[in-house]
Structures are given as C-alpha cells and as structure tokens.
C-alpha cells in the first residue's frame, strides 16, 4: 500500500535556488495538504487543495507555490530558497477528517 509518497527525502539548497517537492497519493482523496514542521514545533499548514484545479493558502504560504492538475499529485514549489525555509515538509491527504501523511522531506537551506 503506497499511500502518500513524497520525494526527495532529503535536500540541501543554496540560498536563492529553487526546487519542487513532489507528492503523490493513490487513495483517490480529494483533499491534499502541505505542512512544515520546525524543530520542537507543531505542524504549520502551507497550502491545501480540495480537488484538482483548486488550491488555497494555509497559515504560512509566503515563499511557496502549489498546483493541483490531477487528483493524485500536489507538488510544492520553492522559488527563491531562504534559510527560514529550512524545515521538514509533510504532504498529506485526507478522508473523513483523518489525515494520512507522507514520510516527509528534510530540507536545509544554507
């Protein structure tokens, strides 16, 4: 059972570089989310999507962009990486209010 798959698992970026974190789910869930988790902190919502073609900002959207062209995929784009974006990123999908998380991407911006 694949569930929610995130790639890459680890990445180091230089300031100003850009990258895309990939997320795909095979559970046919309409709702998908991107969270970030800083050390010792809870998860903060970056963006979410209620279905293909529909996205909306969460609590901390600045510096990120998303797209949702299919039900399965919900990539997160960092355009100009900054040290403040060093964090662990989790993608999730939901069904009946329960979130199912991917294994996370540990990103360092140096």
């Amino acid at each position: 059972n694949a569930g929610v798959t995130q790639t890459p698992k680890f990445r180091i970026l230089k300031i100003g570089q850009s990258m895309t974190l990939q997320c795909t789910q095979d559970m046919n869930h309409n709702y998908m989310y991107w969270y970030r988790q800083d050390p010792g902190m809870g998860l903060k919502l970056i963006y979410y999507s209620v279905g293909a073609g529909i996205t909306d900002k969460g609590e901390v959207p600045n510096g990120y962009n998303v797209s949702r062209s299919t039900t399965e995929d919900f990539p997160l784009r960092l355009e100009l990486a900054a040290p403040s974006q060093t964090s662990v990123y989790f993608c999730a999908s939901s069904y009946a209010e329960k979130l199912f998380f991917g294994s996370g991407t540990q990103l360092s911006v140096l």
Partner: protein, 112 residues
C-alpha cells in the same frame, strides 16, 4: 487565531507507568479533535473525537474530550518503550477541508 496548547512539553517515565497527556484549545468553533503519534517520521493517526464525554479506546491508549472545558486528554496505561514518541493534538475547523491546527506536541520517553 485558533490555538492549541499541549502539556507537558516533555515527559520521562518508567516502563509500566501510566501517563496522561493534556491538550487545551482556544478555538471558537471546531468539528473534531485528533490525536497523532509521531515517532521518527510522519505522524500516524490515533483518535478522532467529536463528542464531549465519550471515551475512545484502543488497547492501552484512550482519549476523551470535554467541549465545555475545552480540553482533551490522552491516557496511556502500562507504558512500553515503543510508546516513546511525540504526541500531537490537533483541531479541525468547520467546513469540509481538514485544515488542522496542531499543538507543539508532548515528547514522551519511556525508559526501562
């Protein structure tokens, strides 16, 4: 702004002890409260609570919600080293999307 506060921040117990983790929230209106366990990677779902006073139970873990006093507790009896993890509490606002607001978590360490 919705706020979820968990206590204690961290806890060290001996195997076999019983622990109670607390979650209080300042949320004007919410649909459900959820508990997650986070070991090394992604959080995994434990419980979802929507009604006040009804205990949810799964093995040695149980949880209850008090909507009047705005808190929930997670109990773990006869703790084992495998219970060592960060336990996260989150609330879901009204609406269809599960835009959870998470607390900072309680880090539980169970020692032999």
């Amino acid at each position: 702004e919705d706020k979820v506060v968990q206590s204690p921040l961290s806890l060290v117990v001996h195997e076999g002890d019983t622990v109670t983790l607390n979650c209080s929230y300042e949320v004007t209106n919410f649909r459900s409260l959820l508990w997650y366990k986070q070991e090394k990677k992604a959080p995994t779902f434990l419980f979802m609570l929507t009604s006040s006073g009804i205990e949810k139970k799964s093995g040695r873990l149980s949880s209850i919600l008090d909507k009047k006093e705005l808190f929930s507790i997670l109990n773990i009896t006869a703790t084992q080293t495998g219970d060592s993890a960060v336990y996260l509490c989150a609330v879901t606002p009204p609406g269809t999307a599960s835009k959870l607001t998470f607390g900072t978590g309680t880090r539980l360490q169970v020692t032999l």
